[in-house]
Every structure is written in C-alpha cells, then in structure tokens.
Symmetry: C2
Subunit: 413 residues, 2 copies
C-alpha cells in the first residue's frame, strides 16, 4: 500500500508549530510496511486543501490527514474530504452525547453550539472515538481509496492512531511488520554503521542506525507472515548485533537511559543521592521524571559554590585549593560526601565546566568529572564533551546515569 500524509493547518505554514505528527505517523507507517513517497502541509483553505487531496489520491491509496477537525469555521478537513469522496455528512446523536459528556463543565451555562459541527460524520465512515477531546476521527473507504482523518493535537492523535488505526491497518494487511529498537551508549553512529554494515545491506529484516542526542539507536524491522515469524527474524538479528556491540547496548525501545537506570535502582531497592555542580540539579530532575523514583531518591544537593561543597559534602578545603573544584579529587570527595550525608547506597557527583565562560587551556569548557560511590568503591570518569552549555549538561547527565548503571551491573557479576 502507498500512503501520504496531509497536515492541515495555517499554524504550520506560518511556523507557529512543528509538525511532529508527521514524524510519528511516518514512523508508524514505516513500521507497518506501508510506503510513503510524499508528505504535504496545506492551510485552512478549502480550495487549496481540495487540490492537495486530489494530488495525493492521484499518487497514493491512502491519505492520512492531521488537523482541521476542530469546532471553528476554518476547520474544514472533514467537509473537504467528504466532498472529494462525494458523500454527505450525517448528524450522529451518539457523538453529540460524547461531546456533551466531554464538555460537561458547560452543562449549566450552555454548551458551545459550534461543537455540534463535530457530530457530523461522512456517510458510511468508520468513527474513531476520541477520549481526549471533542473531535472524533474518521476512516472513509471508497473505490479502493482510504482517507483517515485524525485530530491535530498530538495528545489526541497519537493514542487514536495507536489504539484504533493500527489495528485497522494490520487487519487489512496480509503480513505483519514488527520492529525493535536497540539503544546504544558510548559509541558513535558511524562506527556502529561500520560494524553492522553487512546487516544493513539486507532487505528483510532491515537494520538502520540513527544518532540521537548522546546516544545511537539501531532499529531492526522485519516483515513476516505472522507476528511470531517477524519477531523471530528480529531476534536472530538482535543476537548477531549484540554479539558484536553488546557492551554498548543499554536498553530497548522506549526504555531510555533515565528509565533504565531508575528501574535498576527501584527493582533492587538501591537508594541514590546526587551532588551536582555544573548540571545544577538536572541529573536529579531527570531521575525525578520517572514515576515512583522517590522510593529510592530522598535527597540531592546542588553545590555550585566551593562553600556549599564543603558545607554539605565535606569536601576538604585543601582539595579544592590544590586540585580545584573541577578535578578528579573533588568529584571523588563529593561522591563520598553525598552518599554519607544522605546515608544512601549510591552517591553520584558531577563537577565540570558547562560554559560558555569559565574555560581555560588546562580545563576547557566541556571538561566534566562524574563520580560514583558504591559498595565501598569510588570511580571517577573524566569527560570531554562538546557543544553549548545545554548540550554539555545533557551529555553529562547521560554519562552519569550510565556510570551508575554500570556500577550496579558490575557489582552483580
């Protein structure tokens, strides 16, 4: 099947929002084994939208629309697509009731009448119920062409696609696409590409590396007659990849570094505390984004100043004077100090130069020390990171999370 995406909305054409829906839909369609050759953005103008629809259906079997299903006059996707298909819009009482339920806060003062526009659905269309907003989605099939209409807000579009459109498309297909993402840390995309280049040459499964901030992902996608067959094909390639690159693989799919490390801590009941200088709380805040982490993280301290490093962490004045705040020795004492102060199993320390100022020839911007105190040992890693202040701080957090992960696993071997 060939598909296209049309995003509808003047707010995209004037640059007010990034079209992240297109990326989500592209990846999902790719995973389903559906080809896509073009994507289009059109504004809230019925004539120009109609022209985009005509072009897209001239090239593709299915067009997925995002946006233009709202209650206002300029939301015209449903009307324009119905006209292209030559079908009328019919009022659905049950959709009106769903919208009323969603807008029940208005029950006393009167509902916004404009929302009833959203209860009109093209004749014979499949209705995609919206639990997170008032705009229902629509799937319309006619003469071998399929139109899928989805609401624009990502928090409505993403679950509607995953929960309702994916099963619909899987049922239409005579094969199954499965994919698995390997997440690698500590190696670059080019090197990964060299090591698995023979696997990247194959057509099924496909293997594709991709560089993200501070990590590399390797996506394995396979097409099979059954889910089990596709999964077995992926598993074979995964094992081959990990025999070559296993030391760098830290997680799979959506298990990013923060989730991976937090899960290790929570599953083992290991408590952690952080002493952060140049990251100023970003490591703790990153762990703090994971639900339930407060069971193992009860305190952390941001110590930008030398005084704070001495006061809270017991870093020696002599250490700071002799080696400086950004040094292996200071990182060592900070890691020990925070573990003791918090009475935690693991103490992590970060001290470095995030820039843009503060660098010297001996200690340039991007020099960071990360310390981990665990089970009577302290290890300190020296990092030389590149990029601006934000990049240095984010990179440091990834390295610190990974250092904690490695310490826990090494201790179990």
């Amino acid at each position: 099947m060939k598909a296209e995406i049309i995003a509808v909305g003047t707010e995209i054409l004037v640059g007010d929002i990034v079209n992240t829906n297109a990326q989500f839909l592209s990846r999902e369609l790719f995973n389903l084994g559906i080809d896509m050759y073009y994507q289009t953005v059109a504004g809230d103008n019925p004539l120009r939208l109609a022209e985009a629809i005509r072009l897209a259906f001239g090239r593709a079997d299915m067009v997925i629309f995002s946006g233009g299903l709202g209650p206002t006059e300029d939301d015209l996707t449903k009307e324009t697509v119905a006209e292209y298909f030559g079908v009328p819009l019919l009022f659905h009482k049950e959709i009106q009731d769903e919208i009323k339920e969603y807008l029940k806060g208005y029950a006393k003062t009167g509902y916004p009448e404009s929302n009833w526009k959203q209860a009109y659905i093209p004749e014979d269309a499949l209705i995609l119920h919206n639990k997170r907003g008032t705009a229902p989605g629509v799937i319309l099939e006619k003469d071998g062409k399929i139109a899928v209409l989805l609401p624009g807000p990502p928090r409505e579009l993403l679950p509607m696609f995953t929960e309702e459109v994916v099963p619909y498309l899987r049922a239409k297909s005579d094969f199954v696409m499965e994919a698995k993402v390997l997440r690698l840390f500590g190696i670059g995309e080019a090197r990964v590409g060299e090591i698995v280049s023979d696997l990247m040459a194959g057509g099924n499964p496909t293997v594709a590396p991709y560089a993200k901030d501070n990590e590399v992902t390797l996506r394995i996608a396979a097409k099979g007659k059954t889910k089990a067959e596709a999964e077995q094909m992926i598993e074979t390639v995964r094992q081959e990849i990990e025999s070559r690159l296993g030391e760098f693989v830290y997680g799979y799919n959506e298990e990013n570094m923060a989730k991976t490390t937090a899960s290790l801590l929570m599953n083992r009941g290991l408590t952690i505390a952080c002493a952060e200088s140049c990251t100023a709380g970003l490591l703790t805040a990153t762990l703090g984004d994971i639900p339930g982490v407060s069971a193992v993280l009860s305190e952390s301290i941001v110590t930008y100043s030398n005084e704070a490093k001495m006061k809270y962490l017991g870093v020696q004045k002599e250490t700071l004077e002799q080696f400086g705040a950004v040094s292996k020795e200071t990182a060592w004492e900070m890691a020990e100090g925070i573990r003791n102060a918090a009475n935690a199993d693991i103490g992590v320390s970060i001290t470095g130069i995030a820039g843009p100022d503060g660098g010297t020839p001996e200690k340039p911007v991007g020099l960071v020390y990360v310390g981990v105190s665990y089970c009577g040992n302290v290890i300190v890693k020296k990092l030389n990171l590149h990029g601006n202040r934000t990049k240095v701080r984010q990179g440091t957090v990834m390295h610190a999370l990974n250092a904690v992960r490695e310490c826990i696993l090494k201790n179990e071997r």
Copy 2:
C-alpha cells in the same frame, strides 16, 4: 511573492527526524511577508523529486529546498533542480578549496573524493558559502522563478538562511516586515483572544495569540515601507495590548521565563536558593541552563523525604505531622529554611504531588505549593495543575519562576 518549501530526504518520510527546518523557514518567510500555501516532503528519489519541483513551481514563485546537498550518490537536489531549470552544473575550484579547508583533517590520508561533487554549482547561480559544513547553498533565478537550495542539517541551514538568504530576500522586497512576540503568563489563550479580538481583525499589523506549554504568546507583525515604520506600527499595538493585558506580560521575543527571572536576579545581584520536593531539581536545573547564573545561585537542595526536609531545611516535625508534607505550612518553612541554610537573599520552595500515584481526594495529583521567602516576607501559592507527571513538574517550575519574578518587582514598587 508566493513561496513553497520542499524538504528532501527519505529520513523524514520514514520518521527518523522531525522536519524542524520547515518550521524555521515558515516563520522566517512569514516574517518577511512572503505567502506560503503548501509545504512538501519528498524522498531521495530523482523522479519523484522532479515531480514535486514541477508542482511547486506551478503554484509558487520561489521554492526553498532543504537537504539533499550531501556528498553521497542519493543526494540529488542540486542535480534535479538544475535539470528543471535547464542549466548545467559547473565545477568551482574555489568551492573545492573551501571544502578542502573544512576537511583539512584528511589532508594527509587523502580527501574523500565524493565531496568534490559538492563543488559543482548550477550555471549563473548565486553561491551561499557554508562555514559549518561542506555543502554550499545555492540561489538560482530564471524566468521569474527562484530556487533556494539549503543544506539539511539545521546547524548549517539556520545560519545560512539568516546570514545570506534573508538579506537577499529583503533586497528584492519593496517593504519591510517586522515582528514582536509578547510572552504572557497566568492567562489562557481563549481569554487573550477575546480581549484582543478587535486587534486580531486588522490586516496590518496582524496580531495572533498562540498557546505554548504553560504560557501564551501574542505575535504582532507589521509590514512597512521602512523598518522604522514597521516598528512604530508594532509599538502602537503593543502599547494598546499592554494597556489591557500588561499584568500578564512578562517578556518579549526569545526572553522566556527562565531567562527573564535569571536576568532579574543577575542584574540586581540577588542570590537565590531552592528547596525542591516534587520537581526534584528541575527548578534549579532550569535556572542552571542560563549562562552566568552561578553568580547568584550557589546551592539548592532536593528534599523528597520528610527526613531531608527536617535535616537540611529545619522543617518542624510537628508541621509535617499536623499539615503533611504537601501543605502551605511546610512550603512556608521550606522557603524560610533554604534561605537561611544558603544565606541567600531569596529562598524558593516547592512541595506537591506530581503523580501518577500519591493523590487523595483532599490532596489530588497536581496539588502543589510554591513558597518564596524574600525581604522578611514569605508568600505561598497554591496550585492545582493538570496533566501527567512531566506536565505538572514543568508547570510548577514556570509558576515558581514567575513567583520569584513578581516578588522582586513588587518589592521595588
């Protein structure tokens, strides 16, 4: 002038990257007063790209291309556009020298020959020199049609557009577009829209509200014969808007809440320290992203546990027992406690329930107290925030930064 954007790259069609270039270019073209009705994404396929080019030039005077200027076989934008315009590609020795200079690391071992492809430029084209990569940009004008070819990586495309394409387009235009963004906090998009609806009806300047995470922006854009004229038109509207909504306006253009509050602190030399529970360092980390902030921020403490709140901040056991950790009283003592512990001018506290678990009917997920201790006073704000854990934490940080900002300004009145 009517323009379109064509992004070239299979990596966009399969969802590996988000097309952020399109947003940047859309906004820039909008600011230049150039209309855009369509955007397209095409893959690295010469026939389909040629078809997209034909369609785009059938509708627009100018097409801006991003991507497909790399050194590999599948980078075909330049070749395909030159063919559409019917002009040959000519080798430029000076471009080859620039590429050699950029790749000087290869001087000893031999340059990658594939890069010389990048030294071929369509005949009679304007060359946009690339200081951040090997792919030069190109502007090609013929028979009233303009093609602008830019490299795909944003760190190359953005400065090349700003430094070379904007002056080129401004010189072609007989008017000047200027824009100013007002940033508002503490009011919703719909309410802003109602209050300035009469101003939104005007054609020049245009006024458009837009809801972002936790804030609303109002963009004023004006078209004038001179920059001064456009700026004066904007200024008149800005004054009118601020006479209605001034209490909510906290900043302009790129001055987001973190920058605004950090600047207030740094300009006045006011020191700050934070005691964070449910945000787990995110407030401090957000301030920490601003260069130079360590001059006024020397320490902060994350206190998830009651023990930590007592140990570091001197919160009374009785307060925690009587009112709970998430209470006005605890927030009050935390703010006082961190200001004293850090000997800072301003102490900020955050305690709340970020979810997804931990909520009760009396204290639901999203209930957060923010305290600010300054100049002998403590104020505590009670928040009821919506959304998931990440949203609650981010919203809390915005409210805390705004509370600090308001305290500083109020004290100066």
